[in-house]
Point group: C2
């Protein structure tokens, strides 16, 4: 990195950390778009991180996630806490930004300088999205935001990976037993620290909550980690009306206190390990590609598509002759 | 691999390829559970693959995927084609297998020896699931199943990766504009070769179909690959009644014919490249771990969690001293 570029970056980091929102936003864009810049920036801000309480919020489309997140942010603000929100929207070229209409629900918070909302607009690879999200959360943390809420769509593995990087994971359900079973199938219950039945004014809310409790009972006898004595509470909310938000904030605080004690070290190590391995996988592949060159990779891919060589044998070939 | 184990594996592969269903099922389990076995098996069967038409089916929970897949399988059977179905259910310890009730809808096909249904039950890592699914599809292909349908839940990146490995990707929508927008946001429209509005007897089906067409119009002027002149058809089905299935089979055949010509080479290379890189990433990390040892990794993770070292610097450290 040239000296002047390094100077510009340092100055931008300084301004971002000092509360300059525009500098922070630009830093996020740079970090999101360029893994090399991300490395430089993380090296400089990492020691400031680890202070925010991070909350991952996930649930199916239509479960009212964005509304709930906005309410939660408002509740934190009412306590005098600063709030960062990272909305993970794996956008398509079709949607661009024009369709991201539910961000307007954040408008009540829009004038508040102690709330910072960031949409992860870039699509890219799974690794890219998870990496970008994690680094964005870290920038908010380093910049002094005390609560960082990460909102993700759906129940795919990438979303699971993203919310697992948070201290506390909140899973939103809506009434309707079919949906509940689908969520259970998608394996998302096991990552939940707090379960929320939103739209609890709709029919079937009590049944949905009871079903979740029953599932937790089942899990306790069969699958709970013995070291983990946190039982996810099941809460009912009507986010559109602000109902149940106070109890939710309460549960989040209790989980934060819990995870700061017993559970914290283990989870923190797991998170660090996952991230380290992800970075290593990407770096190692890049190094290999540089060594063997694009032409050789192309030739190998020709052999795979011609069915002369299976993909595993192709990998062995590249690895054994890459020195 | 010992000679006797190799002999047993060869014999099982032979029986599986000759139509022994039990041998095929056991082979799938072995391949799914053990990447080393997967390599051995793929080396032996790979040259037999590439004959099946693979169809990825994705859509939100409750969109009627399983019913549609069962209808599609029945329609193929009526044409005399053999059918493999791979249902990707990232199951949780909570659900096990007991809740996977919608598999019972397959019961009409259960006695048919020319239909092979396989649920991907193991959870594991994203890479593991994508790898296992791909190898399972390959085994069905090698065993002579002429159509292989891969059914996945949701719109996460992992599901996207799984369906992208298929020749033809079918995205299911249900009436309701909110859902449509959510799907667009999730970026799934861009991977669709065929769009299906299922539950088309529900209100709003025509509006949903029109909205999808409008999105495609938008995409054509801004985002379409110039080399790619396939416009995804938008079809309406009522899978529970079997309505619209004939037209769907027709569209699938047309897309197969299309992708066998113009588009095939490019996509096939992309698929091979993605898979090769995924294998390499895993192999490279394993090699590194063996070189540096668990103790050193643990020590580095301690430094990360103590904020003495950021994860990128930790990766650099491991890579520069791993020789």
């Amino acid at each position: 990195m040239s000296e002047s570029r390094e100077g510009a970056l340092n100055s931008r980091i300084e301004r971002a950390m000092a509360g300059n929102r525009r500098a922070l936003a630009r830093l996020m864009t740079a970090v999101e778009n360029d893994p090399t810049v991300a490395r430089d920036v993380m090296r400089r801000v990492y020691r400031r991180t680890g202070r925010a309480h991070t909350v991952g919020v996930t649930g199916a489309p239509g479960s009212g996630k964005s509304t709930l997140v906005a309410r939660l942010a408002a509740a934190y603000r009412a306590q005098g806490l600063t709030v960062g929100i990272v909305a993970v929207d794996p956008s398509s070229p079709y949607s661009g930004g024009a369709l991201l209409g539910d961000r307007v629900r954040m408008s009540a918070l829009a004038g508040d300088r102690d709330v910072f909302v960031r949409s992860m607009a870039s699509r890219g690879s799974l690794g890219g999205l998870a990496r970008g999200t994690r680094d964005t959360v870290r920038l908010l943390d380093a910049a002094g935001y005390q609560r960082v809420i990460i909102e993700t769509v759906g129940a795919g593995q990438s979303e699971v990976d993203i919310v697992r990087a948070a201290h506390t994971t909140l899973v939103i359900q809506v009434p309707g037993m079919g949906d509940t079973i689908q969520t259970l199938k998608a394996g998302i219950l096991e990552i939940a620290d707090i379960l929320v039945v939103n739209k609890a004014d709709h029919p079937g809310a009590d049944r949905a909550a009871a079903a979740l409790e029953a599932m937790l009972d089942l899990g306790e006898t069969t699958n709970r980690d013995a070291a983990d004595d946190w039982r996810p509470p099941v809460l009912k909310t009507v986010a559109s009306e602000g109902q149940g938000i106070e109890a939710l904030v309460d549960a989040l605080d209790r989980h934060m206190a819990y995870s700061c004690t017993l559970d914290s070290g283990r989870r923190e190590r797991e998170r660090a390990r996952r991230e380290l391995f992800e970075i290593l996988r990407g770096d190692l592949l890049r190094q290999l590609m540089e060594r063997v060159g694009e032409a050789r990779i192309d030739a190998i891919i020709d052999r795979i598509t011609a069915r002369e060589m299976d993909p595993y044998a192709a990998a062995d070939n590249l690895l054994s002759n890459a020195g």
